[in-house]
């Protein structure tokens, strides 16, 4: 809000008694402000935000904004066409337009095929302002030579027509970049030297954008697609511009046809040559490209590695199988041996137990015999012997081997004392009855 509002009210005249230093007197202060939220919308708010963020005052902000807008227009004015004009070029004859460098005429030689139609229009306007014949006349230049003005018009006509511009661009040698030699590449940076070559060649491509050459870190896919693109290059380059002038109709018709045929042949020949040249160029580049070697080496290494791995794997499998088989055999053998030993041991123990039992039985029977079958005196009666032996047999049949051994031991301990022996037997029988192995009354003598 820098513009002043005009208020149609009359200020009062200064009364006599009023005086102040520097004609200013602060009388009061403002009342307290209310804090509110501004709506962050609209151009005036954005100006406010700019001021408060950059801590600018109103006048500072206005000045900075004004400067920025001024700078912008200036930049627009002198961006492209500030090239010096070659005095030789100014002397050019407009009739010789085929050999003229249209871009140089318009002062666009640093842009060339990159110049946009907009730039060309602006450049044309600038040149016209400077070289218009009327201007020259006004300056008092009497020579009436407007040939350079015609050059400008011709150049603009060529460059603003897309078809004609392509024809000129096709043969615009100044835009070509010479491919580096092998020696240069060995000394310098491969990518820096080759990239501009491909960028310049890429202008003829029907398929845009053209892939970049890349650098050392490009992946295999990038490099592959780059060379594929260039080996399958689809070019719009034509060579009409170099055609010989076809004679007018009213001259010899045969002559005209002859020239046309010659032109067509020349075009075809140039096109073939160009394709071959490009192919050769890409071949050269690929031959010098370290990345291709690197990838090939990597691929080979990769293959080798894979093969070795496969072999190692196979070997390992065979070994594992053999080992497993051996282990299995060993395990079987061990098991067999252990079983055999077990069997023998069991047999021996059984026999020993059998022998011990036999011996103990003999002790039992011997013990009753030793005490004379508990007869008081003389020969025991057959019946008594029989009953005692029956009882002993019954006990023997009722008790197991360990108890038999214990009984035999006790009997051996008591010796030939008849009563004690009988007592031992009676006790044993009682124990058997107690354990439920014998029934009361089964033994007659030891009951």
């Amino acid at each position: 809000m820098s513009s002043a509002q005009v208020i149609n009210l009359t200020l009062p005249a200064l009364s006599g008694g009023w005086s102040a230093e520097k004609d200013f007197k602060a009388v009061g202060k403002l009342s307290a402000a209310t804090q509110r939220n501004l709506e962050p919308v609209g151009p005036h708010f954005l100006a406010h935000a700019r001021r408060s963020r950059h801590k600018r005052t109103f006048s500072e902000d206005e000045r900075i904004q004004a400067q920025q807008s001024v700078k912008k227009t200036e930049d627009d004015e002198d961006d492209d066409i500030s090239e010096d004009e070659d005095p030789m070029m100014l002397q050019r004859d407009a009739k010789d337009w085929k050999s003229q460098d249209h871009y140089a005429v318009l002062g666009l030689s640093k842009y060339r095929w990159r110049a946009s139609p907009e730039q060309i229009k602006r450049a044309h306007r600038k040149k016209v302002l400077r070289h218009h014949p009327d201007k020259k006349a006004a300056l008092g230049d009497r020579d009436e030579n407007d040939s350079f003005f015609k050059c400008i018009q011709k150049a603009t006509e060529m460059l603003l027509d897309p078809v004609k511009r392509r024809q000129f661009d096709s043969v615009d040698e100044a835009a070509d970049v010479e491919p580096p030699t092998k020696k240069e590449v060995q000394k310098g940076n491969f990518y820096k030297l080759w990239a501009p070559v491909f960028r310049a060649e890429g202008r003829f491509s029907k398929n845009q954008p053209v892939p970049e050459l890349g650098d050392d870190n490009s992946t295999f896919e990038e490099v592959d697609s780059f060379y594929n693109f260039w080996y399958n290059f689809d070019s719009w380059r034509t060579f009409e511009y170099l055609d010989e002038d076809v004679p007018d109709d009213n001259e010899n018709r045969d002559q005209k046809r002859h020239v046309e045929k010659k032109n067509a042949n020349a075009r075809r020949k140039r096109k073939t040559e160009d394709t071959a040249r490009l192919r050769h160029l890409v071949d050269d580049c690929a031959a010098m490209d370290e990345r291709i070697k690197k990838f090939r080496k990597a691929a080979r290494a990769d293959k080798d590695k894979k093969r070795l791995e496969k072999e190692a794997e196979a070997k390992r499998l065979v070994e594992e199988k053999e080992k497993a088989r051996l282990e299995e055999e060993q395990r079987k053998k061990d098991a067999e041996e252990a079983a055999k030993a077990d069997r023998e041991k069991a047999k021996k123990a059984k026999e020993a137990a059998k022998n011990a039992a036999k011996k103990n039985k003999r002790v039992l029977k011997g013990s009753v015999k030793d005490v004379n079958y508990f007869a008081e005196s003389g020969e025991p009666s057959a019946a008594q012997v029989d009953s005692v032996l029956t009882d002993v047999d019954a006990i023997i049949s009722k008790i197991d081997n360990e108890e038999l051994a214990a009984l035999a031991e006790r009997l051996t301990a008591v010796g030939k004392d008849s009563a004690a022996v009988k007592n031992v037997y009676t006790e044993e029988f009682k124990r058997l009855v107690g354990a439920g192995k014998a029934k009361d009354g089964e033994a007659k003598f030891f009951a």
Binding site: M1, S2, S3, A4, Q5, V6, I7, N8, L9, T10, L11, P12, A13, L14, S15, W18, A20, K22, D23, F24, K25, A26, V27, G28, K29, L30, S31, A32, A33, T34, Q35, R36, N37, L38, E39, P40, V41, G42, P43, H44, F45, L46, H48, A49, R50, R51, S52, R53, T57, F58
Partner: protein, 561 residues
């Protein structure tokens, strides 16, 4: 501004007004003017409705038509549900479309949006994303260039959670939300961005009368910057309320003839609603409107007409509610009807002529009522917020995201505002007059420049910079005008107190306290004196006065309190 097509990171922004009933998309055309874009069906107000049949999605008016036959799979009026939990929403508007259901902490709709019959639960954010995606597609198709950013308008009562949810939903739809701006401010911006508009200090009431709800806001526009002073909302008042009147009118007529109530039948009600709305809209333009519905109830075709007088008679009460909302918001801002310089009618229902005419009768002659029926140059009220959003989008689309964030940061937006007007006091003889230079509620820092006349003979003049307050002077029509009588309760509805002669009320400024005095000496006859007042954020003042065309200036500063 004209050709701001390529911004930071190829940003291409549009303005979106996203409403409960309808949405609009707008852009700045190459001539630098905002322009609302029509979608592929030619609608500029695209109904915010999505409908699904057999896995196919319908949008806009096609979807709205589905409310009759396929209401279960048609989602409408979902804007207000974004970012809210189920408990706090009002499901009434969705009665005749897909009903909102609870899903975790948010609201969702159960619709069969795929080929299969089984219904899916689709959250309101997802619905919003789909809606915005369609809007984006329409804009992209129209402009032939991928739209990837937008400024979206939201009501003033949108919570942070709702803003967050809307931003996320937009991002899902492939739209970077550059900024969310308030609807009333967007409307004010749309008017202020007209080439003929001048930047002036003014108080604006924006009445946003929508389909299902109405909002009003008082905005102080100071040097082109906006501050919302008060807002009022009525969530049950809107175009639908007026539709209801039209529907009831026709339903009664139908009952009289055919003895059945078409409103009892769900489909009949839907048909009445859709046609009734069209009829009501037609009444805003013409004085007569027809309604014809095939097979309304029991297979009976129905056709009838209604004229505007009838409609206005029936809707009188509702119209009074609209104006009541406007008066309420003015009162809420502690202001008087006389303080309001402009009333902007926004939203589809603002087309209704009677509402604007009622407002016209409430406000004084000097107040501009921006509605199609009162002002021929008024902008289409339905397009205001979208236009405002588009203007804002064009202003900020070239900024970095960081820049935008910093600019809308509370550090920048929360500013002190003047509580009292600052102006110059003029004494001629006994009469003392105060002329404000900076109005109340001017955001600080601020700077104003003004030129004043000097006495005819020139010489030395005194400038007294003062704080002033405004009073409402009520003059009774008696022969002897009374003394100034400040009136505190200014809300009495004086527009229907017609029995006695109307009293005249006007604004009078009074000097409250002097701030500074300056003397400009030796001014030429018929000269002018220019005064510049600059107020810092800390309430310090710098005052400069000089004769226009003169060399020397009188400068001084008043310390902050």
């Amino acid at each position: 501004m004209s050709d701001g097509t390529t911004g930071a990171g190829e940003r291409f922004a549009i303005g979106i007004s996203f409403g409960n009933s309808s949405s609009s998309i707008a852009r700045i055309n190459p001539e630098g003017k905002p322009e609302v874009i029509a979608n592929e069906e030619g609608d500029r107000q695209i109904p915010s409705v999505l409908s699904y049949i057999g896995g196919e999605q319908y949008h806009g008016s096609q979807a709205k038509a589905q409310l009759i036959r396929n209401s279960k799979n048609t989602v409408a009026y979902f804007r207000d549900y974004i970012g809210k939990n189920f408990k706090s929403i009002d499901p009434t508007p969705c009665h005749s479309s897909a009903h909102p259901i609870q899903s975790d902490s948010t609201v969702a709709f159960s619709i069969s949006d795929t080929d299969s019959e089984a219904p899916n639960t689709v959250t309101v954010s997802e619905i919003t994303t789909r809606h915005l995606r369609r809007l984006k597609q329409s804009a992209t198709d129209y402009l032939g260039k991928e739209v990837n950013a937008a400024v979206i308008t939201v009501p003033t009562d949108f919570t942070d959670a709702q803003r967050e949810a809307l931003t996320t939903a937009a991002k899902e739809a492939g739209l970077e939300v550059l900024q969310l701006i308030h609807e009333p401010v967007a409307a004010a911006l749309a008017y202020d961005a007209r080439p003929e508009a001048v930047v002036a200090d003014k108080l604006i009431v924006v009445a946003d009368l929508g389909g299902t709800r109405s909002d009003a806001a008082v905005i102080a526009s100071r040097g082109g910057m906006y501050t919302i002073l008060a807002t009022a909302h009525d969530y049950e008042l809107g175009g639908a309320t007026l539709d209801k009147i039209v529907i009831d009118h026709f339903a009664k007529e139908f009952i009289k003839k055919h003895k059945t109530d078409p409103r009892e039948n769900e489909r009949g009600l839907a048909k009445l609603k859709s046609e009734g709305e069209a009829t009501r809209k037609a009444l805003s333009l013409g004085t007569n409107a027809t309604l014809s519905i095939e097979s309304l109830a029991d297979g009976i075709d129905y056709g009838s007409t209604i004229n505007r007088t009838r409609y206005e008679l029936l809707s009188n009460k509702v119209f009074a509610q609209f104006t009541g909302l406007i008066e309420q918001v003015v009162k809420k801002a502690d202001l008087d009807i006389l303080d309001i310089d402009e009333v902007i009618f926004s939203g589809g229902t603002s087309h209704t002529p009677k509402i604007a005419l009622l407002a016209r009768s409430i406000f004084p002659e000097t107040t501009k009522i921006w509605a199609p029926s009162t002002e021929t140059t008024a902008i289409n009220p339905s397009e205001l917020s979208a236009r405002g959003a588009a203007i804002q989008a064009s202003l900020i689309q070239e900024f970095d995201t960081e820049d935008i964030e910093q600019s809308i940061h509370p550090m920048v937006t929360a500013t002190p505002h003047l509580s009292k007007a600052i102006g110059v006091e003029f004494t001629s003889g006994d009469a003392v007059e105060f002329k404000p230079l900076l109005s109340t509620e001017t955001a600080l820092p601020a700077r104003r420049v003004a030129q004043y006349n000097v006495p005819a003979e020139g010489g030395d003049v005194l400038i007294r910079v003062c704080e002033g307050v405004r009073d409402i002077k009520v003059t009774k029509p008696e022969p002897k005008p009374k003394e100034d009588k400040p009136e505190d309760d200014e809300d009495d509805s004086d527009f229907d107190s017609d029995e006695e002669e109307e009293e005249t009320r006007e604004i009078v400024w009074k000097t409250e306290s002097p701030i500074a005095e300056l003397a400009v000496k030796g001014v030429k006859a018929k000269g002018k004196v220019e005064l510049m007042v600059h107020i810092n954020a800390d309430l310090g003042l710098q005052i400069t006065a000089r004769e226009v065309g003169g060399q020397s200036a009188v400068r001084g500063a008043v310390e902050s309190p």
